[in-house]
Amino acid sequence: MAKNDLVSGSIWDEYSNIVTDRMNNPQHQGEIKEEEAEALNAELIVADFGAESCGDAVRLYWAVEKNTDKIVASKFKSFGCGTAIASSDIMTELCLGKTVDEAVKITNIDVEKAMRDRPDVPAVPPQKMHCSVMAYDVIKKAAGQYKGVDMESFETEFIVCECARVTLDTLKEVIKINKLSTLEQVTDYTKAGAFCKSCIKEGGHEIKDIYLMDILDDTLKEMEQDKLKEAADTTESGANDFAKMTIVQRIKAVDAVIESDIRPMLIMDGGDMEVVDIKENMPHYDLYIRYLGACSTCSTGSTGTLYAIESVLKQKVDENMRVLPI
């Protein structure tokens, strides 16, 4: 609160001229019919996103040239407010002439930037930032249809705040590194929750799978546990003990770390793992594991995820630990 907040302005005053122009005269609104796509030797793709009952809905038409994957015609229809219509119009324009693979890289942030009059002044007020998110979602939907895959597959990370495209991993990392303790701090540090505010907690404009409030709570709890474990570890000197352990004790020790540190992360992505065996292969301890759920088909199972599991076990169990998925 300050002088600037005391007389609230109209949200319309904060729309850029481009937004205003595109709302008044959208350049790419319209449809593509089967015959038109055929005449272009292109495949017609029609993607729907949103619903009138949610306040925002968009239909995107693409004519995609068959041998080049190039979007040779692009049109939209949109039910929504002025910024939703303007975002759809710009999004449709950005798709034009690109290949489907290139188009799917266009994000809501690109759409918003393309609507700015001046590079450093946002095109819409914070609460309207979300309108461009749908413009991005419908591209993914269209690309998914063209390629015959699920639209979610274009998103490699779990995005918590769509307006600012902040991932779950980033949030946890920033909270931990900076030892953040309030939601305001999380928004200040990451920009997550600064725009439509839906991701902060339940009850906002959109229903989300996970909210900043829960992420902060969970991460704070994790940090507390980490602290406790660290304290416990320094008193125990785990590495020496592991060498002296029986096989049952070893499995128990490994399981404990999996349960507390590894499994929660895997479950978040719909996966899991189980321990198959531990073999001594001096100077290493070889831990054979089997991936379950989403992990079993995930390509990072042999790279990123595997390294992460291994490094946690090296840290917490024994530095000679090696993890081998079977």
Binding site: S8, I11, W12, M23, N24, P26, Q29, E31, K33, E34, L44, V46, D48, F49, G50, A51, E52, S53, C54, G55, D56, A57, V58, R59, K77, S78, F79, G80, C81, G82, A84, I85, Q127, C196, K197, S198, G204, H205
Partner: protein
């Protein structure tokens, strides 16, 4: 042409009201509480204003009408007054209201909930009103207050005040009604309807902003909300805004006399009906809450495929001011409670447009508005996905969600 059709938000000050107010800025500027001639000089017009106010709502001379800064203050006062008078001492712990009240009631009740008070928010039916019986059913031994609006701001629907008044009188529970949207549009008679308190605001009936009132029936216990002086018979401290009080009195007289109400009912109502009929001629349109039992100046219409804010946008571009309860048009992206009552996830919540007229609207203006509304609907439906072309082999997913 400019056409103002947002009179439930605020109204233009009637020039005759302004004329009454002007002497009280530079000429008759004394403090009404002063003993000298400068102070006393304010009294005749203040008394005249009270006459108009009492007559306007049918109050008895033994009752009080306290001048407040607005209806929001009056509403806060009633709710928090019931809390300090009946609840904090442990006698009672329950308030009954509806889910479609103005935030000045709802937010105040929510605050009291954080202080341990039980609040019942009565649901409205598909017409946007509640059944008086639901008040009866919700009454408890420990109910301290019932607060139900007289007319709804979005739909204009009138609530069964008389029945609720009788129920509360029988049960011996104080009954307050926020009459902000009713005064000047329908006859508001506090005695005939057995209400104990009503709130109102001058700027909704062509008076100035920043002044309102609270009617308090004789014998109703309500401790002061503002402390610090003996103004208003000790019920509200603070130097009275004389010009505003005089203005509100004049505005009340002009809005509530028999001729004025008849004009509102017939002429303003006729213009509203004309506008409404013309919009309803467009396909896929519906009056939200139905046409029965409403204030004559208001219509809330859903226009399928046209999102409320974009409709307002197009109308604004063409000189017309209206309103929408759509979440997209609000600062905080929250749909207003009336829209939520009709189902925040329904199309209605996003396609409702409210037109609220006043005695200053002309038929020429309405004709112009009709033309502009038609143009906007045609343009926006042309862009809308709700009316988009669906190719043969495409299964639409837009209505599925």
């Amino acid at each position: 042409m400019e056409v103002y059709l947002d009179n439930n938000a605020t109204t233009k000050v009637d020039p005759k009201v302004l004329e009454e107010m002007l002497p009280f800025f530079c000429d008759i500027y004394g403090n009404p509480n002063s003993l000298h001639r400068f102070g006393a000089g304010t009294h005749p017009k203040m008394l005249e204003a009270l006459d108009y106010l009492y007559e306007g709502i049918g109050a008895a001379d033994e009752d009080d009408i306290v001048i407040t800064a607005n209806a929001t203050e009056a509403n806060n006062w009633v709710i928090k007054g019931a809390w300090t008078e009946y609840i904090l001492n442990g006698d009672k712990n329950h308030i009954i209201t509806s889910e479609v009240e103005h935030p000045a009631i709802t937010a105040t009740c929510k605050f009291l909930e954080t202080q341990g008070v039980d609040v019942t928010y009565l649901k409205v039916n598909e017409e946007g009103v509640l059944d008086a019986k639901s008040v009866k059913d919700a009454l408890r031994e420990d109910t301290a207050l019932v607060s139900i609006m007289w007319a709804n701001n979005e739909t204009g629907k009138l609530f069964p005040v008389k029945e609720i008044g009788l129920i509360c009188k029988t049960a011996g529970v104080p009954f307050h009604s926020d009459a902000t949207q009713a005064i000047g549009k329908v006859k508001v008679d506090v005695q005939a309807n057995d209400v104990d308190m009503i709130s109102f605001s001058a700027h909704k009936f062509h008076g100035p902003k920043g002044v309102g009132g609270l009617y308090i029936k004789k014998g109703v216990a309500l401790p002061p909300y503002m402390h610090g002086g003996e103004q208003m018979g000790g019920r509200r401290a603070g130097t009275v805004d004389v010009a505003s009080m005089v203005g509100m009195g004049k505005a009340m007289q002009m809005a509530t006399n028999t001729m004025a109400i008849a004009y509102e009912q017939n002429h303003v109502g006729m213009l509203r009906d004309k506008l409404e009929k013309a919009i309803l001629k467009l396909p896929d349109t519906v009056v939200i809450g139905g046409k029965e039992n409403r204030t004559p100046n208001t219509t809330l219409i859903s226009i399928r495929g046209v999102e409320g804010e974009s409709m307002l946008w197009d109308l604004n571009q063409n000189g017309i001011g209206a309103s929408t309860g759509s979440a997209c048009a609000s600062e905080d992206l929250e749909a207003n409670p009336v829209m939520n009552a009709f189902g925040s996830d329904s199309e209605l919540a996003h396609t409702g447009i409210r037109f609220s007229l006043s005695r200053f609207n002309t038929e020429e203006q309405i004709n112009y508005a009709i033309e502009q509304i038609r143009n906007a609907v045609i343009r926006l439906r042309g862009i809308s996905s709700s009316y988009a072309y669906t190719p043969r082999n495409h299964v639409s997913e837009l209505e599925a969600n």
